[in-house]
């Protein structure tokens, strides 16, 4: 567990919670990222605020890299594993009505039985695949 980073995890998590809360307090909307991004593409109604949210998503890490000097992170190689993973994440979050943010934070935060079940499910398959493949 020498790679455990509890302080940055809690601070980062708190910021995620704050941003999620802000969208509910101001627009009255769930900050589910798969839902917002997919509807920004698929639906004309409400496209502008959804695109603004996506622009914010793109800016956050850039801001952090300005504030923190040696901020770097890895990215995946372009290979069949990465592409298949992207397709499965797209299909699964659409059919399952949400991802880590929508179910894992917004849904669990309001004690939704659907979101608790979905989160347990994607955690279970995520752990199984990452541990065995």
């Amino acid at each position: 567990m020498d790679n455990f980073t509890p302080v940055s995890a809690l601070i980062g998590g708190g910021l995620i919670g704050l941003g999620t809360l802000l969208l509910m307090a101001t627009l009255g909307r769930i900050a589910g990222i798969s839902g917002i991004a997919s509807l920004a593409i698929l639906q004309r109604d409400g496209r502008s605020w959804r695109l603004a949210f996506i622009v914010g998503l793109l800016l956050g890490p850039l801001l952090v890299s300005i504030i923190i000097n040696d901020f770097t992170y890895s990215t995946p190689d372009l290979n069949s594993r990465t592409l298949i993973a992207g397709l499965l994440v797209g299909l699964g979050t659409a059919w399952g009505s949400g991802c880590t943010s929508g179910h894992g934070i917004c849904g669990i935060g309001r004690f939704s039985p659907r979101s608790i079940a979905a989160t347990l499910m994607f955690m279970a398959t995520g752990v199984a695949v990452a541990s065995f493949f």
């Binding site: 101001t26 627009l27 890490p61 990215t75 298949i84 880590t100 994607f122 990452a130």
Partner: protein, 137 residues
């Protein structure tokens, strides 16, 4: 004001994803992979987010309406169904394969990595396909 607060919300969320290092798929995999050098950080990210959101959500809902919109829009469905569970299972498989869920993948796009771009394009393809073909069970 809607556009400003939507942008600010996205910015706070992805800054949190960056600071917690969840933008790094290897960091996420080190949580999901129980066979290696296990890193519990992701659990604390979820905990930190949930504490802030759960407590704040109660306060927010004491108002009759959000600040810059006419009403709160919350999901009403309560029952578990097969598309929810199977969809979540499929999502988890993709998450475990690459260490990316939608937020970190989109937030990492400015790094201009072909792998991240390929992942996001395939994710969008998945959304388009799923919109045309609902999961009927």
């Amino acid at each position: 004001m809607q556009l400003f607060f939507a942008l600010l919300s996205g910015l706070l969320i992805s800054a949190g994803i960056a600071i917690s290092k969840m933008i790094d798929p290897l960091k996420v995999i080190s949580f999901l992979d129980l066979s290696g050098n296990w890193d519990p950080s992701l659990a604390l990210v979820m905990l930190g987010a949930l504490v802030v959101y759960t407590l704040g959500f109660k306060l927010v809902l004491k108002r009759s309406a959000p600040l810059f919109s006419s009403h709160f829009k919350l999901p009403t469905k309560q029952t578990l169904d097969k598309p929810l569970l199977l969809g979540a299972a499929i999502f988890g498989v993709g998450w475990g394969l690459a260490g990316y869920c939608p937020g970190p993948a989109i937030a990492a796009l400015p790094a201009a990595s072909t792998g991240t771009l390929g992942f996001v394009l395939m994710m969008v393809l998945g959304w388009l396909v799923a919109a045309k073909i609902p999961l009927k069970l």
